[in-house]
Symmetry: D3
Subunit: 162 residues, 6 copies
């Protein structure tokens, strides 16, 4: 029984996240997509609860995948959730640099192992911050996010008066 | 007839931007340097209008280069301006990572093709954010920016009382 | 009238090369795919003539694209062919590092400008050396190369007794 | 039941490989360290059989880790061995670039998923080619390889008359 | 007599900074760790004075190392302090990209030479911003920072009511 | 008294090497440019002795710089020559990756510290392997190498009948 945590902000969850989740679901017994947020900071475009709902709707087809919201350190969440490893997607050198420092820090301060899933296919080269920019300005991101996220983005930007 | 858009903040325009413009002007029939800004955010060190003026003065020697100010998405601006491609400079791995994600996103959401101009020569390894830091603290950046930008920087920092 | 040279070994030509050619064909008036070879070295998996034929069959749909074989320096070929720029695909940090050094060297020793096309989509993250390994061992690379290359690979490996 | 293949030349196996094996052994039910070799090429510093022995002695403490020698494509070996994923270590941007191209190629040509283990700790920033250089010239690499490899290296270089 | 300046925010100083300082102290006659701060911005987790004290306590064992607080440009500080070079640690491609642009900018605008110390060993792959996140949330960072920093962090987070 | 070794093949020595030497000469009391070669391998375009002569002529203006030829390990040469550190130039992510692995390996197997000099200015983005290709095919590399190297290249290619 091996359990994995995919931590992130998921503001919003996109097809790259979905590809990482698909790989993790195929390799590990139990997978938790962990929506992290910091109560001391603004909640972002979507609230943590909205993000949780979007992720849940997007991963509904995977039997061994759950969604959780967490605050605080990823390593603390990993311990609390009883997982064996963190799973992160990696798109290029900048992502890798950040992951190497985090993985080394986690190795010294906690017990969380890290495994990286390389971004392959056009679905994987995508970033939440560009999706927020494009989506909130009325751009069509339906080819880059799961359907529930696209619906939520349309409701959100409608609510924002755009 | 091929038209290219060089999008950026240009806060300020520097010799690296000028080198990209020179290459684009030699290769494409029409080149537009697009000064992007987001009305919802602070305008930066220079206002969009000041930036437009600085770029215009800096590229005055190129017959086929125009300057425009745009808000909103780069891909929308590309469509509105009728250009065939986006042109961006690239200095290293971090730049490339960002461009790969943006080019892929644009390929899925719009029709804008991207071409990258590699930074060569000492003029090209420069970044606006360091120039703002140095310029506003009274440093001499005259070797890294076109003359009109250096003049504008001196007026700006004089106005700031430095 | 702007002309571009896409230099390479093309041993074999693949979908990433095809994507670069498609972008160049859309942006420049005349595009030459230049199959480079060094007579002093072994010819590779395919002979230069076989490679020229494969590329020609693969780019037959582009009206403004020609194919040429050249020996010697890329910059000399660029001058001889009368092109305005070199066009190269770029997949990640390693590619970029090599291109930055070559572009700078060319800028000092010759007049060839370089423009880079970022690899986007699953078709673009591919490399000839892996295709040779896979193809010569009987693997199916039909999803990564144009049809004429796949046919040539099957004939070649049949001829090699695999 | 999830099985993973760690493919490589392992000429020689080093502490970075051992760290990847340790992580894989903790996360997957069954792990195979696959010593690849190409009969058409020179066998390297150690023969495939010597390498298999060294790896076996180095991973003897892991109950769920086996060692196999394979020729041909990694993806064919993965299918033959019935594994669910390939596991590779990644030290920096150059490693990642190679892995992204290979993972994408494998995704198109076969079914092998790839997961990457980030190199952390001083044990992980090591490369077989430097170890061969140092070891064959009489340098002390005992801090960078498992004990059985260090013994084999001393026998090998003794046999080479160094 | 060669003097070197190690500039940084050091919010907080960590084992990677200490490793850079150790190398610099071994190679240069005089080393100054320069705690930079911008009076126009919030002071960070630790005040400049707290940071100066932490660094001083951490480098007390090096006879030729001093600590200074500076505001304004690094190159101005370098001139004022009479140093011959700037010394920076470098962990990966992202760090290097930033250093190449800064080194080139400094080469054009001032006289400060830059030398980079590669991060080796597990002590070096660490970043202040993760330490602040972990430390302020009660995580144990004692393995990644000098003892005086760990004490200060405990006092700080105690004072913050955590 | 601090001594530094700049190790390399220098086949040929170029302006990037010269820039590294200039920085090292300004910072260290004694600098040795070490021309490494492996007697078991072909000597390259220039013999080790030719390379030594070219480097000596190129660095004649630096009072504290000497040239030496060495075989075997760089770390052994460093010990034999009594230097305190190795000095290497670094142009981008690929260079850095190689240097991080070598520096870590050296830290574990020997006592050699490594410092890296970032490549700045157009003189620094150059590589010996492209210079050999261009120079031996009659290209003009005079803008990328010191004058004594350009003379030697002309004699060499004249001798080669080109």
């Amino acid at each position: 029984m091996t359990a994995a945590l995919i931590p992130g902000s998921f503001d919003p969850f996109h097809n790259g996240h979905l590809a990482v989740t698909r790989t993790a679901a195929a390799l590990f017994d139990r997978v938790i997509v962990g929506v992290g947020h910091n109560p001391a900071k603004p909640s972002g475009l979507f609230t943590p609860e909205e993000r949780r709902e979007m992720v849940e709707a997007s991963v509904a087809g995977f039997e061994n995948v759950q969604v959780a919201v967490f605050t605080g350190l990823v390593t603390t969440a990993a311990t609390d959730l009883g997982v064996d490893c963190l799973v992160k997607g990696v798109r290029g050198a900048s992502d890798l640099d950040a992951e190497l420092v985090q993985a080394n820090t986690n190795a010294v301060t906690g017990q969380a192992r890290t495994v990286l899933i390389p971004a392959v296919g056009s679905a994987a080269l995508v970033a939440s911050r560009y999706l927020r920019e494009i989506g909130t300005r009325g751009g069509d991101i339906s080819g880059l996010v799961p359907e529930p996220v696209w619906s939520a983005m349309q409701r959100k930007t409608g609510a924002l008066g755009q």
